[in-house]
């Protein structure tokens, strides 16, 4: 089971944002999108999750076209964390994470348990009763992460689940970046398909099973980090001369710019 993009293109307001993209996000694997600013990563995420309709081509989720999915059933299978949050109302952390339980009719007690567990997993238990509007950027981001984790905390009746994160580590310190990677791997080990956008190539190399380099609206390279990350590619896509070696412990590629 997977999310499959079949030859998708996206034209918006006279711009070609995506061109002829084929991509498959497999359950149980971590797929990471990298690429320079404006390459089309977020647009691609929006098309893959059904927020934007492709101008051409199609996207299927667990072998059913995205547009055919019942929106409520889809929400039990696919959880998405956008880049920016608009939330501007003083919910407590517990209430925000509780919103992630809306797609499941599992009852108050179960929801409370999931909410508490999800907050603990993102190191935010101490925020439970704090107001969202009074949190720091990193705290807000962790609470939002806990919310999407709560959304797919229990398995769904409608197939394999997918977790889509758009730059989840943007507001995080070093410790919480590591925490995010370990959470993502944990969910992947449980069979969840993870798709995320990252800017840090080294973080991407550490956690990706499948690394997808997006450039100018199409896919430049795709494969394991060791295959994809070459000095030639980094210079071509990011316009940066970099040295690539091996991480002394994890043996994944290490990009030194």
């Amino acid at each position: 089971m997977s999310i499959v993009a079949n030859n998708i293109s996206l034209h918006l307001a006279g711009f070609d944002l995506l061109r002829n993209i084929d991509l498959s996000v497999e359950a149980g694997q971590v797929t990471v999108l990298v690429g320079p600013n404006g390459a089309g990563k977020s647009s691609l995420l929006k098309v893959l999750t059904g927020e934007l309709n492709p101008s051409q081509g199609s996207v299927s989720l667990n072998q059913l076209e995205l547009s055919q999915w019942d929106i409520q059933k889809k929400a039990t299978v696919l959880a998405v964390l956008p880049q920016h949050s608009e939330l501007n109302f003083p919910f407590t952390a517990t209430e925000v994470v509780g919103l992630g339980c809306i797609p499941h009719a599992t009852g108050y007690a179960v929801d409370q348990q999931i909410t508490a567990d999800a907050l603990q997993l993102v190191d935010a238990s101490y925020l439970q009763r704090r107001l969202y509007t009074q949190m720091s950027g990193g705290e807000k981001q962790r609470v939002q992460l806990a919310r999407v984790l709560a959304q797919i905390w229990s398995p769904s009746d409608f197939g394999e689940q997918f977790l889509v994160l758009d730059e989840p580590t943007a507001a995080f310190d070093l410790a919480h970046q590591q925490m995010t990677l370990s959470i993502v791997k944990q969910f992947a080990a449980r069979g969840v398909g993870v798709l995320m956008v990252l800017h840090d190539l080294n973080l991407a190399a550490r956690c990706a099973d499948n690394l997808v380099v997006v450039n100018g609206g199409s896919i430049e390279a795709c494969g394991s980090p060791a295959q994809v990350l070459t000095e030639h590619l980094v210079e071509k896509v990011f316009d940066v001369k970099a040295t690539i070696t091996r991480h002394p412990i994890t043996d994944t590629p290490l990009v030194i710019a």
Binding site: L78, S85, E86, N88, F89, P90, F91, L99, R130, Q134
Partner: protein, 341 residues
């Protein structure tokens, strides 16, 4: 941190409501002691003939108080809905153009037919029909302007609401300009908001609208909570955002349209009550909707009681009192909030 537990607040407000209603019944040009009010209320059930006190209580004050209760509840709860839908704590039911359109409708009727003509339904003036139609039509325009194939943009709706409000204001001025003195007075009194013309027919209509809202709105509480996250987040949580928007905008146009038609423009209830209750118990709509309905009902009953007794033997339009009570309170809230951001 919150000041109050939500369930306690709802409990307190539910107890406050009948108390306010009883006290309001005793207040007025003729002050009636509680014992006689109870007597009058029981007299109808027992079929006892009407004394003068009984008829003051049952034919004049009770419908007026019930109308205040229902209008207050509807305006406050729809204010909550609009603030949730627009994700803006400063939104107000009038934002979608209802009030502006309603006042044009009312003024138009007053100027064209003098407002004195009795309509087919006894007890309802043509002005009410004009106001209702004006409110609904302007909401439809605002909604159409903001809706494209991609859905309804709440930002565009906000701006379109402001534009329609400005056009409505211009039309109102134009109509006022061509009015004679008597019409002018009628227009301005109507715009001040007045529960004076309350009767059982109006209570019945308002009761019907309130019942509809009572049935439909509680089921939307979770969706409104999810919408506060943002529209795409709400969609990812399985909420059919466009359907909900359409439903809530329609209900607001209906509820506010009928309120304005029956009671004129009553400001600040729909803005201040949701804001105030949210400060006390937080933005969870499952509690916010019932709390604001109860608080709005009490506030408008209190404001109307003050309006009835403050310049005895005459009375003031209710809208003046809600604005006088509400606006300073709102300014105080803003000043307090300034420190938090």
């Amino acid at each position: 941190m919150r000041y109050l537990a939500a369930d306690k607040l709802v409990g307190c407000l539910a107890l406050l409501l009948p108390a306010v209603a009883i006290v309001s019944l005793s207040m007025g040009t003729v002050s009636i002691p509680l014992s006689q009010i109870v007597e009058a209320l029981f007299a109808t059930m027992g079929g006892v003939e009407n004394s003068q006190t009984n008829s003051i209580v049952l034919d004049i004050r009770l419908p007026r108080i019930l109308l205040a209760l229902l209008v207050g509840a509807v305006l406050a709860v729809l204010g909550t809905v609009m603030q949730g839908l627009f994700r803006n704590p400063l939104a107000d039911p009038s934002l979608i153009g209802v009030s502006g359109g309603a006042s044009v409708g009312a003024s138009l009727v007053i100027v064209l037919v003098g407002g004195a003509v009795v309509s087919p339904l006894a007890g309802l003036s043509l002005i009410s029909f004009g106001a209702f139609m004006g409110g609904v039509i302007s909401t439809l325009i605002v909604y159409r302007v903001a809706t494209s194939s991609l859905g309804t943009s709440v930002t565009t709706m906000l701006l379109a609401g402001i534009a329609i409000g400005a056009i409505a204001g211009a039309f109102n001025s134009l109509l006022s300009y061509f009015s004679d003195n008597q019409m002018l007075r009628q227009i301005s009194v109507w715009q001040m908001g007045n529960l004076g013309g309350a009767n059982w027919l109006k209570v019945g209509i308002m009761g019907g609208v309130s019942a509809l809202l009572l049935v439909v709105l509680p089921a939307q509480a979770k969706s409104l909570n999810a919408l506060l996250l943002g529209e795409s987040e709400a969609r990812y949580l399985g909420i059919d955002v466009q359907t909900i928007k359409r439903k809530l905008i329609f209900l607001t146009a209906l509820g506010v349209g009928v309120s304005v038609a029956l009671a004129g423009l009553i400001g600040f209830v729909g803005l201040i009550i949701p804001h105030m209750i949210r400060l006390l118990i937080g933005p969870d709509h499952r509690w916010l909707l019932p709390s604001t309905a109860l608080a709005g009902a009490s506030l408008l009953m209190i404001a109307d009681s003050i309006a009835r007794v403050v310049v005895l033997p005459a009375e003031l339009p209710t809208g003046i009192i809600t604005a006088l009570l509400g606006a300073p309170f709102f300014v105080a809230l803003l000043i307090r909030q300034r420190g938090e951001f």
